[in-house]
Symmetry: C2
Subunit: 215 residues, 2 copies
């Protein structure tokens, strides 16, 4: 993807709304926050890497924390994006996905591409969530009100069709998410240099998940 476009895409803004220098600042901040962490990165370093004066950062973002939130908030939303789409659950009920496996496959593929594309910003989001209770709270709210809510309907739908084990929906949701996230975490964060055969490993992971969850 184009170097400039992916950031605009992640932040979900139009080209005209942000200046070139602003993009440089965001890009530098994402890279350095991902590498050394928010607290260990100074605004002077970000300015140097972005090729702007330190004051320019504070013209666009009132505080350093504001700059962090400008990165983290859109990433948080994009992280759960499929579940924010209105027609997502409808697609499932109208037999867009005949089986749970097809649904899982679609989500898995989608989130794989997402992590691959936005890895540094995702790193920042997950790392800093541990230290900033406001970010964590916002994540939990969105998760409960959007992801969990819709996921539960989908799981119950396939349980009624007799495809999934009669476990509590929250258990099935947890196992599904941690299995997918477990692969992505191992693949991109823990062992990014291992010679992965992504397609095959995703296939194995899906088979494992379906076997584990079948009625």
């Amino acid at each position: 993807m184009d170097e400039r476009k992916w950031l605009l895409d992640l932040l979900n803004v139009e080209e005209q709304q942000v200046s070139e220098k602003q993009i440089n600042i965001l890009q530098a901040a994402i890279e350095m926050f991902a590498e050394k962490g928010y607290a260990a990165t100074s605004t002077s370093e970000i300015a140097r890497r972005a090729g702007v004066a330190e004051g320019t950062i504070f013209r666009h973002y009132k505080t350093k924390k504001d700059l962090l939130l400008a990165i983290v908030k859109p990433t948080l939303f994009q992280s759960v994006a499929p579940f924010l789409a209105k027609k997502f659950v409808k697609d499932v009920f109208e037999n867009e996905y005949e089986h749970y496996e097809q649904f899982v496959r679609a989500v898995f593929q989608n989130r794989y591409e997402f992590v691959k594309t936005y890895l540094p910003a995702i790193r920042v989001f997950w790392q800093e969530m541990a230290f900033h209770s406001d970010i964590k709270a916002q994540f939990q709210t969105i998760f409960i009100n959007h992801v969990y809510e819709k996921f539960k309907q989908i799981v119950e739908h396939f349980q009624q069709k007799g495809e999934l084990a009669p476990l509590p929906p929250e258990t099935i949701i947890r196992l599904t998410i941690t299995t997918i996230a477990g692969f992505l975490f191992t693949r991109f964060l823990l062992m990014p240099d291992y010679p992965w055969d992504d397609e095959q490993e995703i296939e194995r992971t899906i088979q494992f998940l379906m076997n584990g969850l079948k009625a």
Copy 2:
């Protein structure tokens, strides 16, 4: 567990080797690093919380990073402790565990207790591993030379007995670890306030794992 003892236990040292003030320093550091992160915690804050002068910290630990390593290194070793025991693999081969399920059950129970007991120190270890490449490198070395090595033997043993699917051992290891770690992560870090029925949820997780991996 006694307030003083768990730390000595984690650090694997005798009572006489560390002074009372030293324990206070370590305890304060673990708590604050876990909460706000290493970089965002100042040595003056640690000293205040520990009830010692700032200089006392530097008498025991040459640098702030040294203090971090004094916490992280023992936690890293304890994290993979079962796999460091010499008789661990022997136990498996001598039918201490007749089935893979019994082995998984033992490891799961053991690591559940470990995380429950040392949660703050584990937080520090995992959070800071993302920012300190020396810590990450040490973890990878130990994992490859001890955990992976022995785990592979065990998996192949049960594959030969026809208990496990003919997947690559590294895939089975990954799925086993991420399933267990996925539960512990959700249980203790992501949603510690959710009203968990631990025993039942562990049971469901093991059933899911065994169904997913069976031949």
